[in-house]
Every structure is written in structure tokens, then in C-alpha cells.
């Protein structure tokens, strides 16, 4: 659970884990919050390589030192620094890190929130002209081959996701439990639910349309793959049991029995 004023945002991206440090937050406070968060998630983050997004902040040598110390204390390795401040980048390079011009973490979070608000407009377009997506398959086309996605990390959750809980991950997500209504999964790769999917799942959330959602029991409130969206008919909610898969074919999202 990350509050709006949380000085730290830890997020998985295509390039690995990214720690964003809010530019307007007090640095010492942010370091304190960072060490707390790292300690909490030590099992998950231990030994990981991370990039740090410092935004437009002009980091002083003391601040940079304390960042290095905080990360080193939990065994997390800093790969590189993302910043729009030349002073910060020069400082990072002088410490032997890769420095990239940019400011990704929090800005991208905001961008995603805006995209989500814009989405309901697509609802009629994609859902309405496709009343029976399961039955309306004209010529069974070979489903997309399951290409090995070794390059993508996978998050394994051994619990039931309950209402209000949200998982955002830059890779595949596997849930060994249910996803209850009101819970959300947003994965850049595939979503697999070894239980009942009743909440919302978004596979390929960064726009990858060859991702898929699979569940042993498929009763979602809504499914999204890439940019496509599918809303099940309320009457058909419990009609079909057994494992189902949702994937995009010819620009439309289909569900079919596996």
C-alpha cells in the first residue's frame, strides 16, 4: 500500500526494479522510509539490482553517500541513476554508476493513472459488438505460441488477493489463490490465477498485446490485455467453469476454454 505522499515508490520495470525518490520529499526522511521498506521486503529484494530515480533533485555528496549506505545495508545493488539534474548525474558517474537523463518513476505512475481514467470510453467499442466472444470464433486460429519469456521476471503470490489490494508488476504474475472482486492485478506480462479470478486483471499493461490471462475459474469483473478490454455479461457470470484463457486476436479480446 503506497500512500499518495509516500516519499518512496518501488516498482518493477522492464529494466529491473526502480526506486523512485520523490523530488519534493525531505531526503533524510526518504532514506528512513527507504530503509524501512527494504527491510520489510528484504526477502523479495535481497541481492537485487536496482536503479534509482532521483528526479530533478540536485543531490549533495552527503545525500548520495547516505543513499549508497542505505542500499548497501540491505544488500541491494545500485545499477544506475536516473535524473534530470546534471549535478546529480555527474556525482553518480564520479561514484562509478551509470547515469541516464530521465525522470521516470513517479511521472509514469501519474501517466498510468490518467490512461486508466480515459479507458472506460473504450468499453462500448470493444465489449458491445462482441456479445458472445466464446461462441463467435469463426475459424479456430492457432493460439499465439507460448514463446519462452525468460527475460521477464515472474512474481509468485501464495495468497488470496482481497478487495482493495492491488499488485503492479513488470513481468508475469502467478497467484496461488483467488483474486476477489475489488482486487486488481496489473502485469506487463501474463497473469495466471490458480484459483478463481473474480477481480480485475490486466495483462500486458505496458501495451503488449500478445500477453494473456489464465484462470482456473474465470469470473472476472473485467479483463484487459494490452489496450483491449472485456466485460463479461452478468448473466453468463457463472455459466462456464473450468480453466479459461483470455488473449487478443485480430485486435479483440477473446476468452476460451483451455
Amino acid at each position: 500500500m503506497q500512500g499518495a505522499l509516500d516519499p518512496i515508490v518501488i516498482k518493477g520495470t522492464r529494466f529491473g526494479l526502480l526506486i523512485s525518490i520523490r523530488e519534493d520529499a525531505d531526503f533524510a526522511l526518504a532514506m528512513h522510509s527507504l530503509s524501512e521498506r527494504l527491510a520489510q521486503e528484504a526477502g523479495f529484494l535481497g541481492g537485487a539490482s536496482v536503479s534509482v530515480d532521483l528526479g530533478w533533485r540536485e543531490t549533495s555528496p552527503e545525500q548520495f553517500g547516505s543513499l549508497e549506505a542505505t542500499l548497501a545495508a540491505t544488500g541491494v545493488k545500485m545499477q544506475g541513476v536516473l535524473s534530470t539534474s546534471l549535478a546529480t548525474r555527474t556525482l553518480a558517474e564520479s561514484h562509478g554508476y551509470k547515469a541516464i537523463i530521465g525522470r521516470l518513476g513517479l511521472a509514469e505512475h501519474q501517466g498510468r493513472a490518467i490512461r486508466r481514467q480515459a479507458q472506460p470510453a473504450q468499453l462500448e467499442e470493444t465489449a458491445a459488438p462482441e456479445p458472445e466472444p466464446e461462441a463467435a470464433l469463426p475459424e479456430p486460429e492457432a493460439p499465439p505460441t507460448l514463446a519462452p519469456r525468460d527475460e521477464e521476471p515472474t512474481l509468485l503470490l501464495r495468497k488470496t488477493l482481497r478487495s482493495g489490494q492491488k499488485v503492479i508488476f513488470a513481468g508475469n504474475v502467478v497467484v496461488m489463490g483467488d483474486v476477489n472482486p475489488g482486487a486488481e492485478i496489473e502485469a506487463e506480462g501474463d497473469v495466471v490465477v490458480l484459483g478463481t479470478l473474480r477481480g480485475l486483471a490486466h495483462a500486458g499493461c505496458s501495451g503488449k498485446s500478445d500477453a494473456s490471462v489464465m484462470a482456473l475459474v474465470m469470473q472476472p469483473t473485467q479483463l484487459r490485455v494490452g489496450e483491449e478490454l472485456w466485460v463479461p455479461e452478468t448473466s453468463a457470470k457463472k455459466s462456464r467453469t473450468g480453466p479459461m484463457k483470455a488473449w487478443v486476436r485480430q485486435g479483440k479480446l477473446f476468452t476460451e476454454a483451455m
Binding site: G164, G182, T196
Partner: protein
């Protein structure tokens, strides 16, 4: 050393306060020493349901602010039982008047000298909720067989789990057996499919509960109340967890009574 149990729901109006009053009275009836803590600061109700409103002198906020010598000074003894007490909440303050650490310390102190401390949690997931669960060892989630109540209960369970609460149990309140039978109301199975918790009790919808609450007389003490009987079952489960699980206390109705009369009659003939 006793146990602190928080009674919570997320959604308002599902029967947390009624449940707290009834379980507290039931436990006291069974001879346990009990404190009921009203953690709903600013919207205090438990005193009304217990019929103790006019005896309040000090309240929860006075206790944490150190205005009384000890928390015992704020406790109100119940009218009916010598081993049942209530800690009223303040009416004129708000939830921020108490911090979770203060609640934790207070609950710790209380459970040292009482068998059960039942905390009546306010609706919502904000400060009041955080305060109420701070000192709790276990939680009872109360919900109704309605989608909105179940959804909120699920959210609450997620938050309780995030706070590493163990022993989360479920009370399904206001069950209308005939509506369930007609498929117009969620059944226990429907609710459990989502929540998947230990079921502590099923309380049938009972008009007597409303009457009892308005009079300040918990229904658990009413021998003729079906809800009261269901609460007595829950109390037995709370005292001895090995007690067999809950069954729905149904209104037999006229036909049921006739059927029972005849089966009993037949049974006795066979015996002869």
C-alpha cells in the same frame, strides 16, 4: 491473561454494536469477566444498546489523556451482571483523539485482569479502525449476506491480514433463511466463497433484536429470541473453540410446528 477481540465490518449498519453487546452479555452470563470497549469516538452507541447511557462520567478519551486515575474509573458496571463492564467512547471528540499506541497499551492493561475485552470498531478503514485493531489479539468480522457488505468485509480482512492479525472469524448477521432458500439472498456458501474464514456464527434476522436494542436489553438474554439463541451458540464457541460449528436457528413456522408435533407423536408411538 485474557483475550482482546475486535468486532469489525468495514460497512456500517451490519450489526457490530449489537453483536458486541450480545456477545459481551452472553460471555458474562457464562461467568466470564468482560469489558466492552466502544472505540467509535464521536458516534457512541454501545452505551445505548446496553442501556447505560445515563451512568457515563469518564470516557475512553479521558482515560488516554490521563484525566482519570486508572481506566477502571471510567468503567461502567452493567445493570444485570457484576462481571460485565463497559468503557464508553467520547461523544464530542473525533477519531484522532486517540492514537493506536495508546489503544494498544490500554488493551494490554485491560486483558491482564479480564477474561475478554471486546472492542466495538467503528465503520470505515481510517483512523478509528486502526485504533480499534491496534490492541486486538483476534478479530471477528461481522457481515450481512449482501454483496456490498461482503465486499467491505473482504477489504477489512485484507487489511487485518496486512496487520498480521491471526484468528479472523466470521459472523454472518441478519440471515433470512426463507430468502436464501428462494435464491434471493446470498447463502453462507456464497459468502464463504469470497471470504473463506472460520464461521463463528449465523444470526437470523429477528425483529426482537431491534426492540431489544431500543430498550437497552441485549437479545442474548431473551430465551424466546432466535437471534438470542444464535448468539448463545457463538458464546459457547468463543469460550470453547472445540464446540461444533454454527447452525442456523430457523423460525419453524406453523407448518414446521405441526410437522414437529406429528413426528414427535409418531416417534412416541413407535417407542410404545
Amino acid at each position: 491473561m485474557g483475550k482482546v477481540i475486535v468486532i469489525t465490518s468495514g460497512k456500517g449498519g451490519v450489526g457490530k454494536t449489537t453483536c458486541t453487546a450480545n456477545l459481551g452479555s452472553g460471555l458474562a452470563l457464562a461467568g466470564k469477566s468482560v469489558i466492552l470497549v466502544d472505540a467509535d469516538i464521536g458516534l457512541r452507541n454501545l452505551d445505548l444498546v446496553m442501556g447505560l447511557e445515563n451512568r457515563i462520567v469518564f470516557d475512553l478519551v479521558d482515560v488516554v489523556e490521563g484525566k482519570c486515575r486508572s481506566y477502571r474509573q471510567a468503567l461502567i458496571k452493567d445493570k444485570r451482571f457484576d462481571n460485565l463492564f463497559m468503557m464508553p467512547s467520547a461523544q464530542s471528540k473525533d477519531k484522532d483523539a486517540v492514537k493506536p499506541e495508546q489503544m494498544r497499551d490500554l488493551c494490554q492493561e485491560m486483558k491482564e485482569s479480564f477474561d475478554f475485552v471486546l472492542v466495538d470498531c467503528p465503520a470505515g478503514i481510517e483512523m478509528g479502525f486502526k485504533n480499534a485493531i491496534a490492541g486486538a489479539d483476534e478479530a471477528i468480522v461481522v457481515t450481512n449476506p449482501e454483496v456490498s457488505a461482503v465486499r467491505d468485509a473482504d477489504r477489512i480482512v485484507g487489511l487485518l491480514e496486512a496487520n498480521e492479525m491471526s484468528g479472523i472469524k466470521l459472523i454472518l448477521n441478519r440471515v433470512k433463511a426463507d430468502m436464501v432458500r428462494r435464491g434471493q439472498m446470498l447463502s453462507v456458501q456464497d459468502v464463504q466463497e469470497i471470504l473463506n474464514l472460520d464461521l463463528l456464527g449465523m444470526i437470523p434476522e429477528d425483529e426482537r433484536i431491534i426492540h431489544a436494542s431500543n430498550r437497552g436489553e441485549p437479545a442474548v438474554l431473551d430465551r424466546n429470541s432466535r437471534a438470542g439463541e444464535a448468539y448463545r451458540q457463538v458464546v459457547r464457541c468463543l469460550i470453547d473453540p472445540s464446540t461444533p460449528g454454527p447452525s442456523l436457528v430457523e423460525d419453524p413456522g406453523l407448518m414446521g410446528k405441526l410437522r414437529r408435533f406429528f413426528t414427535v407423536g409418531l416417534g412416541s408411538q413407535v417407542a410404545q
